[in-house]
Amino acid sequence: MSEPSIAIPAVSIRKLSKSFDGVEVLRDIDLVVNKGEVVSVLGSSGSGKSTMLRCINWLEEPDRGSIHIAGQRIGINEQTRRKMTSKELATLRARTGMVFQGFNLWPHLSVIQNVMESPIYVKRMPKDQARAIAVELLEKVGLADKHEAYPFTLSGGQKQRVAIARALAMSPEVILFDEPTSALDPERVGEVLQVMKNLSSEGYTMIVVTHEMEFARAVSDQVVFLDKGRIIEKAPPLKFFSNPDTERVRKFLEITA
């Protein structure tokens, strides 16, 4: 059973294009992310990195192209050729996790409730089981002592670690990280990156939009560089950081080094 599924990529993006009010922000993006891979997406602000990520779980609706999550097309029902209903879309989104720059923890729920919420109300998991999973995940992200705390009492780094646990609770095929450390003060960045590093060594599939060069270099299997809505470089980190093909990336690395 499991043999053939190994060949199906966790995410495959083909010919993805997207405009906002006539301004093209993504053009002909092609990207395949295999199971267990970590892909870092780099590029300057406005290059389309976040839009690309948000298209993967259809928070943004692409104009053209296709995206498959573990072999299943998102956004369009392949049988009817129509736009997915909100229910179909939800079913597929439940198989992806997302971690936001601004955390977006639900403020009315305690830390453990934030983690239990989606398993209970999306997956219809029994509460006891959801709680057991949440306890385990909060332990994993180093917040075993914060179960009953409310999000407003946490530091940014703690909030982001809860958000990661919340995403993991759905056992997603892929976790999308949208600049997860950009809103953190420098002292807190490390604790979040460490958690992400641990996830990668546990075999989670991750797509990480980031400005953290060191993370991209040390953890990714592939580094992707976006410039004006196009992928202009796609390489393993060793090649990307030491011997990039394009002048644009060379300049980017010089400035950010």
Binding site: N57, L59, S86, K87, A90, T91, L92, R93, A94, R95, T96, G97, M98, F100, G102, N104, L105, W106, P107, H108, E117, S118, Y121, V122, K123, Y150, P151, F152, T153, A163, R166, A167, M170, L176
Partner: protein
């Protein structure tokens, strides 16, 4: 016999009126609240139905409550729909205050950070679950003082229904004052009763505010 003894003798009448008012109020605000929450959910989708809902809410907000009550009780029978005064009054309270509840929640929805909604979508919430579990609880916490105010307005609007012959608290006072001609005392009694109910509402809502305060919400 002094005026106050007359009122004491008529206590059964006041008590019946009070119970009718409380029953009418409780039932109407529960239904209005649920309906108001439903309106806001329908507004989320931004389709043709949501335009109709928006129009309906605005229509209710521009209509004097008494006219709505008149329409339902005296107008609808012309269309062959006859209701008791009590049913017509209840219906008027429900649809009128549902519109106000909806408007209060909608205002808060407009300024709710989209990130919470996106996080829920990204985790696979369907629209109704998202609304009930993520959006609505936050709206209720944030609008608690306004909702409390609306409850008091709804309580006072029950008094209008005396005009379409609903036998509630104001009707009781009116009947006593016109029988014995003691308007001041009779109305003072019911004013105190409305006031006491309002105070209880205020206290209950103040307690509810702790729920939001514990979660770090401001101005609740």
């Amino acid at each position: 016999m002094t005026e106050w003894t007359i009122l004491w003798e008529a206590r059964a009448l006041f008590l019946d009126g009070l119970l009718a008012t409380l029953g009418l109020f409780a039932l109407s605000i529960i239904c209005a609240f649920v309906l108001g929450c439903a309106w806001v959910f329908l507004l989320e989708e931004r389709n043709r139905l949501s335009i109709v809902v928006r129009g309906w809410i605005n229509l209710m907000r521009t209509l004097p409550f008494l006219i709505l009550a008149y329409l339902l009780y005296y107008g609808l029978p012309e269309l062959g729909l006859r209701m008791s005064a009590w049913t017509a009054g209840l219906l008027a309270l429900v649809i009128y205050h549902a519109a106000y509840f909806a408007e209060i929640l909608r205002g808060s929805r407009l300024v709710l950070p989209e990130g919470y909604i996106e996080a829920a979508k990204a985790h696979g919430f369907t629209p109704l679950r998202l609304y009930l579990r993520i959006t609505l609880p936050q709206l209720l916490i944030k609008t608690r003082p306004l909702l409390g105010n609306q409850l008091i307005i709804a309580l006072k609007d029950t008094a209008f229904l005396t005009i379409i012959t609903v036998q509630e608290l104001t009707a009781a006072a009116n009947s006593v004052q016109s029988t014995y001609f003691i308007p001041t005392q009779a109305f003072v009694v019911v004013i105190v009763m409305y006031w006491l109910i309002s105070i209880c509402l205020e206290l209950a809502l103040k307690r509810a505010g702790r729920f939001g305060a514990r979660r770090g919400f401001d101005h609740v």
